[in-house]
Amino acid sequence: MYWFMCLNKSNERKHIIGNHMTLLETKNLSKTFGTLKAVRDVSFKVEDEIVSIIGPSGSGKSTLLRLLSNLETPDEGQIYLFGQEVTDLNSKDKLTAYKQLQFIFQDFALFDHLSVYDNITLAPIKVFKKDKKQVMDEALSVLKDLGLSDKINSYPSTLSGGQKQRVAIARAIMANPKIMLFDEPTSALDMESIDDLKKIILDLKQKGIGILVVTHDVSFARSISERLLFMENSSIIYNVSLDNITDHQGRLDKYLK
């Protein structure tokens, strides 16, 4: 038992380096579908920052995001979440470990049969067993922040793409995440909604939530991110900080057609 506790402690210590906290880390992550190697030997870290993965379609970036969200199981490699290795946990422990990682689906995946309010309060009430009154106060304030106060009793099918996405973000926020993953968040949005989304994401970062975005929209990625990962042929080929992006301008131009 004692060695086990030591192990846990050292794990906890490892992910706090300086002022930065490693929220998510992968080591040599691989996933194959049939004969297609969708993700190959991917290693990277996300600290409390905004990181975008960009790359052409079919490069494996969506699969990578699904691996990180426990929607697919990797064939090889490890995933560390908040310092804890989660790759080999059983499915019940995984559910617990992943509570503070939230994923915003490309199609938002709202529960069609539930109102906006029930969509965002289902997990806090049923999974986190929070007090209903407290959940209601939180929900009202989150919906207000996202400009959804008048949609509280609406059903998903009556909402626009941008509104659905904000409900999905509200639902994720209600789970108190430390990190949020976005799959192609701009694909269903008009220009105005994209600007709103930028503000929301920067705001989430301000609140200390790490953000990982997968997108093919390079200008969007550049405008919000602190770091860019370039994915091609199932692998991450560059991992560059926006501070020294000019050194990589040539490589970036390839994507900025």
Binding site: K92, L95, K99, D107, D112, A123, K126
Partner: protein, 216 residues
């Protein structure tokens, strides 16, 4: 008119039997169908194979044949132990038969629920039980409601088959009355009773469907 008054009591007694078979079949085959539909989706090979066999046999043979087999065939094959009252034999047969149809209805409904609904539940850390209770079940009910309504109305009419194994249901009493008196009024009274029963059910299901129409 006087004649109808004379035969009505007997026909209403038969209606009670008809309703008993209907209600017990419905109450047991719906939850059984739901549970077995979940099992059929479980990907456990032995179970899915056995359930496939079950639905294949039950849906591929006449209900009347199944009824004869349970009520008359089983006692011949296995002796007195299976010599139960016809009414119970009939109810068991109906439950076995209707469960097979409900399995397929629920399975179809569950398969029509988009994968992202399960994935969203998983991302929100809902357990399997919670995902079933709060996501899968309500959406399945909504998707399968029209088919369940259809089966329910068919069930009311199918109960007439039990008259063939000497059970005094509405159909049997009607037939006996016509044979005894050589007058056809009993047919019309029976038709009206069946119509009232099915109309009430259609109305109830319409109300439920309207309630569930708040989302697409």
């Amino acid at each position: 008119m006087n004649y109808i008054g004379l035969i009505l009591e007997n026909l209403l007694d038969g209606t009670k039997v008809t309703l008993t078979v209907f209600a017990l079949t419905w109450v047991f085959s719906i939850p059984l169908g739901l549970v077995l539909a979940l099992l059929k989706r479980s990907n456990i090979k032995v179970i899915t194979y056995l359930l496939d066999l079950y639905t294949w046999i039950i849906r591929g043979t006449p209900l009347l044949l199944q009824l004869f087999f349970v009520v008359y065939g089983l006692p011949i094959l296995f002796g007195e132990f299976f010599l139960i009252p016809e009414l119970w034999g009939a109810i068991v047969t109906f439950i076995i038969n209707y469960t097979a149809y409900f399995i397929e209805i629920f399975r179809g409904g569950m398969n029509a629920i988009p994968k992202n609904q399960y994935e969203a539940a998983s991302v929100l850390s809902l357990s399997k039980r919670q995902t079933f209770l709060y996501i899968l079940l309500p959406q399945t009910v909504k998707k399968t409601l029209p088919s369940i309504a259809n089966e329910t109305i068919t069930l009311v009419k199918d109960t007439a088959l039990i008259s063939a194994v000497a059970i005094s249901d509405l159909m049997r009493n009607t037939k006996d009355t016509v044979a005894r008196d050589f007058r056809v009024e009993a047919y019309f009274v029976a038709a009206i009773i069946y119509l009232v029963l099915t109309y009430v059910l259609v109305y109830v299901f319409k109300q439920i469907e309207r309630k569930k129409a708040y989302y697409r």
